[in-house]
Amino acid sequence: MAKRAILGLVTLGLVVAAAFASFYVVPMERTMGPIQRIFYFHAASAWAGMTAFFVCFFGNLLYVWRRQPKWDWLGISAAEVGLAFTTIVLITGPIWAHPVWGIWWTWDWRLTSTFVMWLLYVSYLLLRTLIAEPDRRALLSAFFGIFAFLDVPLVYFSIRWWRTQHPQPVVMGGPGSGLEPTMRKVFFFSVLAMHALMVLLLSERYRLEKLRGEVDDLRREAEAQ
């Protein structure tokens, strides 16, 4: 309980500090103006979402290998958390795009692959609702999760491999790219804050799945009586 409270307080502190820094510390971006400040929320959420999907992939691989329920619990928990972060990305992206591009959405490689990633993980969650038997549900969804993860590197590299309407990478984007030093510091601080939030949500969601595992065990016991 104490650990959860500490994690919650640290996360709250980091998230509030990151929001404050993105409004009051970073300088105004010359071309876009204040709307650029959405970037610190949008891009940091995207990074945290992709990390969650990587954790899901890791859980899925380990479940296929070891067949231990804890890896299935990690997989489903990380998939839901990743989906929450990706939903934020898909909401904040168009809100930023409309004043900057003049359109809410375009089917370029980055936006399309992100939307496909979101659909794949929604399908992952739906698939689990269709299978009642816990072991079969865990194995099939682990295979589907491994397949779904194939889209994640595509999302990351899409702006590096193809010309897109979405801005080219400003972090780790090679020569000619980059952020103003204060913007860079605040961006990485926002990434840290969003990752702390991701860990908090993941640990809470994992506890829920553990309870579900307990329910499954008790049901089996009741059926055997």
């Binding site: 103006g33 204040p34 709307i35 939903t87 004043p99 969601r205 829920l208 008790l218 016991e221 009741a222």
Partner: protein
């Protein structure tokens, strides 16, 4: 501030997703705890 409405909407909607998700975890956990109690009671009655 220029585009204040857009910035406000992005932050409000974004945080609404996080809070909604966090609340849904709490709600589901509470219903599972109730189910665990019921199952434990019915198992102890059956013994």
């Amino acid at each position: 501030m220029k585009n204040f409405d857009s910035i406000f909407a992005a932050y409000v909607l974004g945080w609404a997703v996080f809070f909604g998700f966090y609340l849904s975890i709490g709600k589901r956990a509470s219903s599972l705890r109730t189910e665990i109690e019921q199952l434990k009671n019915s198992l102890s009655r059956g013994k």
